[in-house]
Amino acid sequence: MTLSFDYRKIMLTAAATLGMGAALTLTSGGAARAEEPSWCGPKKATLALLDGFGGNSWRLVTTASGKEEASLCPSITQYVYADGQGNTQKAISDIKSMAARGIDALVVFGDAGPAVLPALTAVYKAGKVVVPYRVDVGGKAGQNYTMFIGSSFKDDGVSWGKWIKSILPQGGNLLFLSGPAGNSQGLDELAGLKSVLDDKYKFVNPAPFDVTNWDPSLTQQVLTAEIAKHDKIDVIVSDFGPSLVGALPAFKKFNRSIPALATSDGNSLGCFWVENHKDNPDFKLFTVATGNDNVRLAVDWAVAEATGGKLPSAQIFKAPVFEDSVSGQPHPVQCRSDLPGSIYLSAKLSGDDQAKAVNK
C-alpha cells in the first residue's frame, strides 16, 4: 500500500507540473459585522490557509469553514488558500512563498509532519504568526511556531468507550477499524477506548486495529473477512464512518444484523442508518463530529495573534459528540438526502454551503 500511495504522490506531482490547480486566491467577504468576535483585534492583517493535501470532501468543507471563520473578522483584509496537493515540496514552497508575499498569519495543516517544521520555523523567526493544526509537526510553541492547535483523538476514543459501556454494560466483542498501519490517530483513539473499557470488552481484531487505509474497497474486504471469522461482533468502532457505508451491507450476506456502530459522522452514513435501521434491529449509531471545526480554532488563534485580539482559551480542539440513535442526545441521527453524501452535518458550516464547497 505504501508503494501505491507514493505512486499517487508522484502522479499528483506530475499533475501539478501539468498546471492542475494553482494556488487559489480569494478575498474575504469583508462584510462589516455588528458584533465582532473577541479574538478579532483592531490591527489590519492578512491570513493564509495552507493545506498539505486538499483533494477530498473533508478538506473542502474544512477550507470553506476556515474561510467563513476568517470572514467574521473585518480586520482581515485578505484571505489566501494554497493546496500542497500531497506533495511535501510544494507544501514547503507554499509556506515560504506566502511569507515572501507579505502575508501576516499562516494557518497550516502540516500533512507531511515534521518535514514542514524547518519552513514553519524560518517563517516564524521572520516575524509571522504561524499556527499549525491537527497534524503534529514536532517542535515547540514559541520556538518553532506561535501555537499548535491539536485535536484530541483520545477524547474521541473516550466518548465511544462511554457509549459502548452504556449500551453493553455486560461487556462484548468489539471490532476496531482505523486507517493506515500504525497511524497515530488510531493509536490515540485506542488508548481512549481502553481507558474506559475493561477486560469484559474484547477487541477481536488483530492489535492494535484492522488496517483499512481509509479506503472503501479495502474496508469492505477487511470487514467481510472479520464478519466471516467472528460469529459475534457487538460493536464496530471506526474513525471514518462514511467508508463503512459500502461495507456494512456485507452483514446481510451472512444473514446477520448490522451491529452497533461507534464512529465519526458523515451525511452518507446518517442516511444509511435511516434507510437500514429497521431491518437491522442491532444497528445503533453513535458519532463524534468529524472535526472540520478544528480549523476554526486555529484561525481564531492566528487572527487573535495577528490583529491583537483576545486569545482563545482552548488550545486543543475536542470533537463534540454529535449523534446518538439510542438517546437522541445531543442529536438524533441526521440525514439530508437532498445534499451530497460527502458532507459533514456536524460542521458549523451550513449543509447548503458545504454542498457548494464540495460541488464546485
Binding site: M1, L3, S4, F5, Y7, R8, I10, M11, L12, A14, A15, L18, M20, G21, G54, G55, N56, S57, L60, A181, N205, P206, A207, V211, D215, P216, S217, L218, Q220, Q221, V222, L223, T224, A225, E226, I227, A228, K229, P242, S243, V245, G246, A250, K253, F254, N255, S268, P340, G341, S342, V358, K360
Partner: protein, 341 residues
C-alpha cells in the same frame, strides 16, 4: 537427423494421447490455488464461507479484469501504468456525471468509454509509433488522465447511482454480477486471442515484432489495439468498483496497479511479450484475492499479513524457475517458444 525429423511427429502423437497440452503457467497457478484452498480449509475456514466468498469474489473479479487488460499490453512487450488513472477516471465519471441520477448513467458510461479510447490511442501512438519506452509513456499518460480525474471530481468522492450499485453489486443466480462480467470478458478475450485470425496475429506480433513485420503484419496497429482494449477493460473494472463500493474515492485505481502486473506474471505470460494465458491470469486473480483473505482471516498483525502475501507471491513466481520432474514434464506442453526465448 532422422531422429530430429521424427520429433514433431512424436509430439503430435503425445499430444493426442494426453489430450490438450497444458501450459506450465496454468498448472503452476492451479496447483498454488488448490494448495491455498487446502491451507484456508485447515487454518482459516472462515475465509471459505459463502458470505466471505460473496464479499471477496467481486474484488477478485475486478482484479481479473484489470489483469486481463494488463496481459494484453504485456503480450506486446509493453506495460500499462496508466491503469491507475484509467480505472479512477471511469470511477469518477460514473459517479460524478450522473450525480445520483440513474437515468444519466448510460451517458456517463459512453463518456468514460470515449475517454478510454482517447487514452488508449495516445498510449499506443506514444509507444508503438513514437517508440517511447512503455513505462515512461504510460506514466505520462497516467498523469494526464489524473488531470481529468481532478477536473471531473476535484478529488472528491460521490455516492454511486442506485442503478450502477444494483448492476455491479447485485447477484444473478446466486452469484455476484461482477463475476459474470469477469467470466464474459474472460471468454471473449480467450476466444479472440486463441480462435480468431486477429488474435493469432496479435500473439505472433507480440512474440516477435520484427519477424511479424517481415511477413507483412500490421505491427503498430495491433500494438495500439492492445492499449485501447486495455483502457476499455479498465472502464469495465472502474464501473464495477463504483457499483461495489458505495462511495468510491477518486483514487480507486491505484491499489490495483501492482496486483495487475502480479497476476499477469503469476499466470505465466512472459514480460517479454508473446503468448498470453487468460485463464491462468484469472485464476491468479482469485489466488491473490484469496491470499489476502487468508492473511486477514488467520488474524495475524498487519505486518505479518504483508509478509505472508509477499512470501506466497515470491513462491508462486519462483516455481517457474524450478525444474519439474520428467513425469510431470510430459503432461505439460513441451514447448512454449515465447517462454524459452
Amino acid at each position: 537427423m532422422a531422429a530430429r525429423a521424427d520429433q514433431p511427429l512424436q509430439e503430435t502423437r503425445q499430444r493426442r494421447r494426453h489430450g490438450a497440452p497444458l501450459a506450465r503457467g496454468f498448472l503452476t497457478v492451479l496447483a498454488a490455488t488448490l494448495a491455498l484452498l487446502v491451507l484456508c480449509r485447515i487454518l482459516a475456514p472462515s475465509s471459505l464461507t459463502a458470505g466471505a466468498l460473496a464479499g471477496s469474489l467481486p474484488f477478485a473479479a475486478v482484479l481479473a479484469i484489470v489483469g486481463l487488460a494488463q496481459m494484453l499490453v504485456v503480450q506486446q512487450g509493453g506495460f500499462d501504468l496508466s491503469l491507475a488513472g484509467g480505472v479512477s477516471l471511469a470511477v469518477v465519471i460514473a459517479t460524478h456525471v450522473p450525480a445520483g441520477d440513474s437515468a444519466e448513467l448510460p451517458r456517463a458510461v459512453l463518456l468514460a468509454l470515449a475517454c478510454s479510447v482517447a487514452a488508449g490511442v495516445l498510449n499506443g501512438v506514444l509507444v508503438s509509433v513514437l517508440r517511447l519506452n512503455a513505462i515512461v509513456a504510460t506514466i505520462g499518460v497516467n498523469a494526464l488522465i489524473y488531470g481529468g480525474v481532478f477536473a471531473v471530481s476535484g478529488g472528491v468522492p460521490r455516492t454511486t447511482t442506485p442503478l450502477l450499485a444494483a448492476i455491479a453489486g447485485g447477484e444473478t443466480l446466486g452469484v455476484g454480477n461482477a463475476l459474470w462480467f469477469a467470466l464474459a470478458i474472460l471468454i471473449l478475450v480467450a476466444l479472440i486471442l486463441k480462435k480468431t485470425v486477429i488474435g493469432r496475429r496479435f500473439e505472433a506480433i507480440g512474440a516477435n515484432p520484427l519477424a511479424a513485420r517481415a511477413i507483412g503484419l500490421a505491427v503498430r496497429r495491433h500494438q495500439i489495439t492492445a492499449y485501447v482494449a486495455a483502457q476499455g477493460l479498465y472502464v469495465v473494472a472502474g464501473l464495477l468498483i463504483a457499483g461495489i463500493t458505495k462511495e468510491p474515492t477518486a483514487f480507486q485505481g491505484d491499489p490495483l496497479l501492482l496486483p495487475s502486473v502480479a497476476v499477469v506474471v503469476l499466470g505465466g505470460t512472459s514480460l517479454l511479450g508473446g503468448r498470453g494465458f487468460p485463464v491462468s491470469t484469472v485464476i491468479a486473480a482469485f489466488f491473490l484475492t484469496q491470499l489476502s483473505q487468508f492473511a486477514l482471516a488467520i488474524g495475524v498483525p498487519y505486518s505479518a499479513q504483508t509478509i505472508i502475501q509477499a512470501f506466497a507471491l515470491g513462491l508462486g513466481i519462483a516455481v517457474y524457475s524450478l525444474r519439474l520432474p520428467k513425469g510431470i514434464k510430459k503432461l505439460i506442453k513441451p514447448l512454449n517458444t515465447e517462454e524459452r526465448r
